[in-house]
């Protein structure tokens, strides 16, 4: 290789590489030290936490049993441990109910100011966590902050506030919660409905108003329909019928059909029948089930027509609908045949016999 020059990696390149190596080496050492420090801290924290718990638990149980005064427990809680103490009480608050839970809340009340300070934290997760803690221990003391938090720029924070308010069973919050629902337009309808239904039947009137209110987004109304279904609110069936007749948004119509299916009667039959020809398989399927539930033997032929639907979902619901109408012989014939719905019929009959 005589006469061939060496590659142009001169001193400067070497210096650069060496400097970068050194820098990365320092980073690696720093990461290692930080990791080691994190481990040491974690061990120390865990031990401290265990020690405090051992200290607090017997006295807390004695206070809850009425054997000791709250003062004896408070004497054990130092200022710097107040947050830990609240977390400690939170575990009890989640497990207990009635007067005992109330006693835990009273124990926590003097220490909540530190948690409340986090409501103004710049990190949304911290704000949400503070709301969640306060929500479990004392919404009443901070109700203004909770209502304010419904408008927080972070949906997570707003959701934490909504969860806490919904657990208060106070219809006064229903309107604010309904107004806030539009903010959660990406959240699952099931989840939102479960959340609203924790408000209890006292909120049903406001919910019925929201279901019929065409100025609200269809998704919000779908959530409301699902909530009213969960609350078994019979009075909302007629509102649901009007929605079915007037609207075409799939989720909203399906949720209203579920409501009618669960709580409806003959009055809603014409509206439900009209949906059997809907271009949406989801609506056709749900309409079939609703018809089977609230209709009579006159509707058997309509439901039978669903057995030849192009959608497997509609076929499945038609079979289940016929079963609900007591058409067992027909289903047995289908199951024994080469009919497209035979497997669905066989499945249903097997379930009945198993």
């Amino acid at each position: 290789m005589d006469g061939v020059a060496t590659l142009p990696f001169a001193d400067r390149g070497f210096q650069l590489v060496a400097a970068a190596t050194l820098l990365l080496l320092l980073c690696a050492v720093a990461f290692t030290l930080v990791t080691g420090w994190l481990r040491t801290q974690a061990i120390r924290e865990r031990r401290r936490w265990e020690r405090l718990e051992r200290q607090w638990e017997p006295t807390t149980l004695a206070v809850l049993a009425g054997d000791e005064s709250t003062g004896s427990l408070r004497a054990l809680v130092h200022g710097r441990d107040e947050r830990r103490f609240v977390s400690f009480l939170l575990r009890f608050a989640r497990q207990l109910k009635g007067p005992e839970a109330e006693a835990v809340r009273q124990l926590a009340a003097p220490h909540l100011h530190q948690i409340a300070a986090d409501l103004h934290h710049r990190n949304a997760e911290h704000r949400a966590r503070a709301l969640q803690t306060l929500g479990e221990l004392s919404v009443a003391m901070y109700s203004d902050q909770f209502l304010q938090a419904l408008k927080d720029p972070s949906t997570l924070v707003a959701m934490s506030a909504a969860q806490a308010l919904s657990r208060e069973y106070d219809p006064a919050y229903a309107e604010q919660l309904l107004d806030a629902l539009a903010r959660f337009d990406q959240w699952s309808v099931n989840y939102l409905a479960a959340l609203l239904s924790t408000m209890g039947p006292e909120s049903a009137e406001a919910l019925r108003g929201a279901l019929g209110d065409t100025s609200r987004p269809p998704r919000v109304r779908a959530v409301v329909a699902a909530t009213l279904t969960a609350l078994n609110d019979v009075e909302s069936v007629d509102v649901a019928r009007r929605v079915i007749e007037a609207e075409d948004q799939v989720d909203l119509v399906v949720r209203c059909l579920r409501l009618v299916e669960k709580l409806g009667a003959d009055d809603q039959l014409p509206a439900v029948r009209s949906l059997l020809m809907s271009p949406e398989p989801g609506i056709r399927a749900r309409a079939l089930r609703t018809l089977a539930r609230i209709g009579g033997s006159d509707d058997a032929d309509r439901i039978k027509a669903g057995l030849t639907d192009e959608s497997n979902w509609v076929v499945l619901h038609a079979v289940r609908g016929l079963s609900e109408l007591g058409e067992t012989e027909l289903l047995e014939d289908i199951a024994a045949s080469e009919h497209g719905a035979a497997e669905a019929a066989r499945e249903l009959l097997w379930e009945g016999s198993a």
């Binding site: 060496t6 590489v17 080691g36 099931n190 979902w313 499945l316 499945e347 198993a354």
Partner: protein, 472 residues
Amino acid sequence: MGNALWLFLLVVNVLVLFYFIVLNTTYLVTSITAFRSLRDYAHRLKTLDVGFLMRSGAALPVTIVAPAYNEEATCVEAVQALLTLEYPNYEVIVVNDGSKDQTLNQLTAAFDLVEAPRYPSATLSTAPVRATYRSKSHRNLWVVDKANGGKADAINAGLNLVRSVLFCVIDADSLLEPEALIRVTRPFIEDDNTVAAGGIIRIANGTTVRAGRVHDVRLPRNLLARLQVLEYLRSFHSGRLGWAEMNATLIISGAFGLFKRSIVVDAGGFATDSVGEDMELVVRLHRFCGDNGIPYRIVYIPDPVAWTECPETVRTLARQRDRWQRGLVDTLMRHRQMLFRPRYGAAGLLSFPYYFFLEMLGPVIEVVGYIAFALTIILGLASGEYVLAFFALAVVFGIALSVAAIGLEELSFRRYARTGDLLRLFWLAIIENIGYRQLNSWWRLRGMWSAIRGRTSWGEQQRKGFATTSTP
């Protein structure tokens, strides 16, 4: 000739240097993004009210689809674990993909299976289904027995029977943690646009399994398995989390992923002619949603854990890496139209090019680079000091990234609680650079070669079963 060689080595060395800088900068960026994301997630985790989801009916129904092929050693334990998950509304469909061993008999005996019809909700084409069974002891357990058609085909057969909004794919030999399902459904609850979510896969070798649950987490004794623990930490904590932050995740592991049923069926189900069907589906979902203007999110969340057994011999590991590389090449070549297309968002502009140029072509560049480097030294074309310095840089960069991944683990979940294991992880971060990384490049290069030759077989991994102890 001399000048030509000089020029060739210059070009190769510059190319390798460029590759090295871009690759490690990407790792660095994803690690930094992951750091922020993991810290936020750890806070966010505290706001998840598992109890509310369990009690309220807010949890979305889920069907778990677990394909099984010759899994007699682990299938009963794995299914038992699936049946004890903490989730209010779920079904399990195990698909026996024409196993040649006693998988079906083991399941039949353990779960009292009886033949039962089940009407399909979709009609994806699959190898013939022989029979469907339902457990008499666990009403939410179904087993599908079908002719062998491969993993994707087995998942499609299960998918045809799914009736819930969401379905979860897991390997029949993986163990899910009890709360894994409820945690992985969270993105679907918080954002209706979520179409897929994956969790972290951790290595079960070395842990103790009791009643289908992992206890006593510790590093495996086998060195290869230990090295893979570190590799998985780096890949999941730094890589996937970073990409997920940009909605640019291209891989959700087939060992544990949750999907919206309707969109997967609309997109055609899992590709039966791909070796990397898990990655292929995720890339296709990006493409399907992008082409049809469907708003979507594909998410990775770092704490729902699936434990899986990893290879402990060089031979099986080589086969696995070969298969992964073939899957990667196959997927990227199938969907190469996505490259640099803004329509596919960050996936088209960032992660796809990253996987295409750095992960797919990486092994070629690396191996050619090793050869060119050796030649450069042998022929005396560059100073030994420079070559040594460059090698040191590469090693130290690798160590720094691995240590960062260990730090991320410590910052968040701290699964390896023994201080000895933590120290061993640091040690592994150093020694993996000597031999293991080079071997990996070689296996991946062989995988590329296999892909070019059109090999599609899976190869088989000998499962030895989890280290179990009896229930106390």
